[in-house]
Amino acid sequence: MSTTDIEAPQPVLSVEQIAVHFGGLVAIADMSFVVNQGEVVSLIGPNGAGKTTAFNVITGFLRPTKGEVRYRGASLSNLKPHEVTSLGLARTFQRTSVFQSVTVFENVMIGLHRRGRSNLLDTLLALPRERKSEAELRQLAYELLEIVGIARRADELAGSLSYGDQRLLGVALALATDPSMLLLDEPVSGMNATETARFMELLNKLHRRGMSILLVEHDVPMVMGVSDRIVVLNYGRIIAEGTPAAIRGNPEVIRAYLGEGASRHASH
């Protein structure tokens, strides 16, 4: 499991009594949970349970009706999404996760935006700092593609990649922002077994490097395999929280989600 530290776990992300209402519809009623340093936490639940809404609140794409999200002690309440990213919290998206009509390499170069150190004047006058910064970014982009394992596709258009490779590129984009925590929104949905296995390998690699990860996922076996802790949502409420073993045995979870989910998986 996670760490052998003697000291108490350090929460990096804390979601405190979040509520989200869309008009009369309650998407999230009252949600609180934490993600500790270096931990992989999964947010699971049936469709419409509020997983993606929670995700959008944490990353600043959506303002909560109530409550607060804190990251490393700082409140994210009034921050725009790009400011949340600069605090070290990076996300991926469920569907469109890459810049389709530029190359894989250019995608990562775009993702490295915040790492560039040249300013407008450097760029306009083509000063040495511009060239140095660009060379560094190209080096970083290459390394990131190596990490996620799609370096051989660097010069292809992102839109022409297979679905699984696009997902890996999406992670490379998130990693390019130099995050200390990753939020992945259903990363393996639509992937075949080989692609899922590759993706889990990448997740484990990042986990070993000390990255904190919050995962929203449908794929229950995958979640059980990679998570330190699991938070189960249903109808905008947390109905259970604990280790994979505890969740597997929780009668309420089985009733609300796993039973139904397992039968649905079997029918595919």
């Binding site: 990353t59 794409f61 725009k80 999404p81 790009h82 990213t85 600069s86 990076a90 996300r91 991926t92 998206f93 469109t96 996760s97 890459v98 810049f99 389709q100 009509s101 530029v102 390499f105 250019e106 170069m109 775009i110 993702g111 490295l112 935006h113 915040r114 560039g116 040249s118 407008l120 760029t123 306009l124 083509a126 511009e130 060239r131 910064s133 660009e134 060379a135 970014l137 190209r138 080096q139 290459y142 660097a154 010069d155 984009l173 998130a174 390019a176 922002t177």
Partner: protein, 344 residues
Amino acid sequence: MKRLSPYLWLAIFASVPLWLQDPYLLNAFITTGILIIAAMSLNLLLGYTGQLSLGHVAFVGIGAYASALVSLGFDVELIGGIRIVHEPWPVWSGFLIGTLLAALCGYAVGKLSFKVRGAYFVIVTISFAEVTRLVALNWVELTQGPLALTSIPPMTLGLPGIGYLDFYSKQSNYYLVLAVLVVAYVIIQRLVRSRIGRAMIALKENESLAVSVGIDVTRYLVLAAIFAAGIAGAAGSLYAHYLKIIDPDVFAFLYTVTMVIMVISGGKGTLAGPIVGGLIFGFLPVVVRSFAAPEVQWILYGLLMIVIVFVLPKGIVPALEKWLSTTKMPPSAEPYKAKMHDTP
């Protein structure tokens, strides 16, 4: 070869006044060159950030009027009896002020439309152009309204210790336009090939994803608007001091449409696109005029546009690039490694 070609093209264009004596054709080159500068600036917004500005001519007009008025001088009375008298200043300062004022207006439009994208951005820009046209038409005391600003002095450059350089002749104006065009090209090239340009492309491609990787998209949209407007203002200033007369027709919607056609047919989002499209649609009227009535010209213009958009939907330059890359160069195994050591 590919790296050499811009210089080769520059040499060819620089040689034009040496072998082309016909003043009518040289005039066509100059006005086309001015339109190309404006089209290049529009391409920065349309081709790179993906925002269609259908009021782009407003920045050209602002640059033209500001530059002309600074060099002519004016005497206006504002509401409340405040009188502003401006003595004529050197023409080059008019060029600078026209450019900066247009850039400032670009900043304002960019900021105003910071929340609106797509169709709403288009409407904001059209409205802005219409408002500026009405001001030019109705503020007669300042702009002479429909009577036009006349006797605008030609561009002069003060060279300390040497004297003045006047741009009276067509030849000298040709080189002036070419010089401004090259400067504008280099500015746009450096912008779009940097992380600033990548941020703009990210905004065009997928705004949510751009935001999620930490790009402040508003900032880069405003930056693109400032540069696009400033370069368009410079084109307007060149126009005013070349023709020596401007009226509110410089704000005509037709000019914006012409620029958009130049950018789209040449290839939006490419550096050479507005130049190729600009040369075609700048010279087409000149060629057609020799054998057809004006009405026929416009029909041919429209037909050519339709043909280009249907046959080459991405524009001429991307189509040429694709054709060159498939016929000449075999796809190399790992070109990205070469890219890493490439210092542009």
